[in-house]
Symmetry: D2
Subunit: 139 residues, 4 copies
Amino acid sequence: MVDPDKATDARVVGKELAKRGAVVVCGGLGGVMEAASRGAKEAGGTTIGILPGTEKTDANPAIDYKIVTGMGHARNVIIVQSADVVIALPGGPGTLSEVALSLKMGKRVIGLGAWEDISGVIGAKTPEEAVQIALDSIS
Amino acid sequence: MVDPDKATDARVVGKELAKRGAVVVCGGLGGVMEAASRGAKEAGGTTIGILPGTEKTDANPAIDYKIVTGMGHARNVIIVQSADVVIALPGGPGTLSEVALSLKMGKRVIGLGAWEDISGVIGAKTPEEAVQIALDSIS
Amino acid sequence: MVDPDKATDARVVGKELAKRGAVVVCGGLGGVMEAASRGAKEAGGTTIGILPGTEKTDANPAIDYKIVTGMGHARNVIIVQSADVVIALPGGPGTLSEVALSLKMGKRVIGLGAWEDISGVIGAKTPEEAVQIALDSIS
Amino acid sequence: MVDPDKATDARVVGKELAKRGAVVVCGGLGGVMEAASRGAKEAGGTTIGILPGTEKTDANPAIDYKIVTGMGHARNVIIVQSADVVIALPGGPGTLSEVALSLKMGKRVIGLGAWEDISGVIGAKTPEEAVQIALDSIS
């Protein structure tokens, strides 16, 4: 189960990104990924899910385009590499690996209430602020 | 330089797929990939490019969504695995690897004027026929 | 079940490679891969298995070094890319994908009683001849 | 340039691992990776380099077996997945991604003078202690 506050934050991030015309790329599965995707769809946005497994049906229902990698954790590399800018919500080591890979690739990473102690991550206090910083950084 | 006949075929394949509501997934670069993508866009369709390199700018201008794998030839696996059905045009060993991977994954492969000698590939004589067979097989 | 003649050929290929000091790199699983690995070990050679799954225990007992990719079919790319020269035995579409990827990467491919109809593949009639051609090409 | 103290630590880690019969798997390039590999070879050990690029010649001279992935950062996943236990030295975001991936995969991670603040990482004060903890955890 994903924490309700975190799910709400993810949903607002997705919605705000979509409102401003950004495409939401994520891991395509449930939890925070699904919340962000649902938010984006509520605002009429577009979502891409980079799936770790070999089945399209693994994707959550709010994913428009399903990229089926069959590459397990290596799909995290593709998520980050396909992104213009990365917003990280609180999470476990999988999310941490994406934050680290983003920094390694020189991508801007915004940590929403998380990861600010990692050198290079830009902290944001609200989903709206996270999206603002993210989109400002690539415009 | 891509052969003009092949480019025309690719463009018609892209166009027919888009007309019937299919998303075109390809390797995202030039030549046949670009021709198919352009065809799809001419018919108002959607295109996804699974790129081998690490730069979004490697994509041809007719790609809507750029998946940046940074995984070289391994991106062929992702193209095939993300497809519901595969249409292969005449090509070199890169295309042959995709045909083989499709068969290995149990995906239907339609060879447009090519690859029909490989067991499991379904031959088609025209782009329209290729698209017809492809979409019939997944409906 | 792997065909007994093919298993014998694979075993002799492995043995001859090992006798001449070559390291055997393969997919690490059963069948032809295991036969080649066993042959190499019988001659005191070294074997590397590039595994598709996430478990070391997937490897056959004749593998010395287990590379656990968790990348499914994409591990075929790594097998070929790590090889100096490729010897292909009769097989299905998985093997064909490796033959094609080898050609795409410009690696020499020797087909032992198979694949000679593919442009660029060098045919060999016996395991000994295949190994001879392979090692001559990289010396 | 790699920090001399860190290089010395890496070399001792490699040497101690080799003395106790462990194979050293690393990224195969220079700096800390080369120092650890050299240490292992000084003690008569075996080294495997999982390379990000497409050329065997990218490997440092102390690598015995070169796995050529051509998959860029995704090779970090393979390094970790192929390891029984992970020892992390001080480093940048690339190393952090490996630490995170290890934790995600449920592998034991020993941080040598680094990463102990990450939940799940076991701190070690000396190279010898790091190797001791590592090998105890898999025996």
